[in-house]
Amino acid sequence: MADTTLVVAVVIATTALIRASGPVLLGGRELPERVNSVIVLMAPALHAALVMTDTFRGEGSDLMVDERALGVAGAGVVIALRGPLLLALAVAMALTAGARAI
């Protein structure tokens, strides 16, 4: 188990520093376009990876398909139909919990 106190403290500190870095250090200057192009794409790459690992990771490092996949798929349908975020989250919970209860 990781040292959670360390993680909490460092995540808090780095979040504040990162949020302040642009406004304080860089002022109005732009990052080099190539660097910016990579940084902007960090979020989709990481979020897609988190969708996969949080949906399909089983015990340990095994991949598995369980009720979470149904819930996440349902949320995806709601989002694709431009439904509200809250509805998508509710559908994810309801489908997952419902499938487990059956």
């Binding site: 909490v8 460092v10 949020r19 860089l26 902007v40 989709p44 509200p84 975020l85």
Partner: protein, 244 residues
């Protein structure tokens, strides 16, 4: 719904900007509350009540909180959890650079404005010509903060009553939330980075059975190197993350 930026506005107009921001931010604050409840429930057994509350109160960064907690919950190291949070937060660098020219005051005030930067508020505060309305952004963030902290408190306290979060399907909220970020924001753009998302997902899936927890997510960030081949990255029209 969103007033146009006028740099010569007086204090009354700036207050009106903040009020308009507050009104625009309320729907995201409601989403933030639900997510924060789930964060509290899921994070309390992993980080403890104090750790979960400290993250919500002082980091106030949904993606990084969920991401780092998920890494630890799956047995990842402290370094992997911190790196995941830093990588998830790295988008605030270009966001802050974009915001900076629109900010008044000295470094401390500008740093304070930076702390109010969460995805949805930042996106809604964007104006013509690449300018931003910082007061609108602050207003749009204001409702989310108490809802985020309050929701975390509810989640931490309700965790004992709920028992197994899986029975309520709470473990599906993490991936559903990240999917919403992808489909609502990052992939709903003119130059949607689908190939980056698909590559990141593929890297994570391939590495999950082969590497320690946390590594697949961090390795997936390499997919962003595709940006070196793109001259104009996709810019989100709005992101769905209520709290960064």
């Amino acid at each position: 719904m969103t007033p146009s930026l006028n740099r010569s506005t007086g204090s009354e107009q700036r207050r009106e900007s903040r009020r308009a921001g507050v009104r625009a931010g309320i729907p995201f604050a409601l989403a933030a509350f639900v997510l924060a409840v789930s964060f509290g429930v899921v994070a309390e057994p992993v980080l403890g009540a104090g750790g979960a509350l400290a993250l919500s109160a002082f980091a106030f960064a949904g993606s990084a909180q969920f991401g780092s907690t998920a890494v630890i919950a799956s047995g990842g190291s402290a370094g992997a959890a911190i790196l995941a949070a830093v990588l998830l937060n790295s988008r605030y660098i270009p966001m802050g650079v974009a915001l900076a020219p629109s900010l008044r005051g000295g470094p401390l005030l500008r740093a304070a404005y930076g702390q109010a930067m969460i995805d949805a508020s930042w996106a809604m505060a964007g104006r013509a010509g690449g300018r931003f309305d910082p007061d609108f952004m602050v207003g749009a963030t204001l409702p989310s903060y108490p809802m985020w902290v309050g929701g975390t408190i509810v989640g931490v306290l309700a965790g004992d009553l709920i028992g197994d979060p899986a029975a309520l399907g709470l473990d599906a909220l993490f991936p559903a939330f990240f999917l919403a970020l992808l489909l609502e924001g990052e992939l709903r753009t003119e130059n949607a980075p689908w190939i980056v998302a698909i590559a990141g997902a593929a890297i994570a899936l391939v590495l999950t059975p082969l590497t320690p927890p946390g590594v697949p997510v961090i390795a997936a960030s390499l997919a962003a190197l595709i940006g070196l081949r793109r001259s104009v990255p996709g810019e989100p029209e709005i992101e769905g993350d209520p709290v960064g």
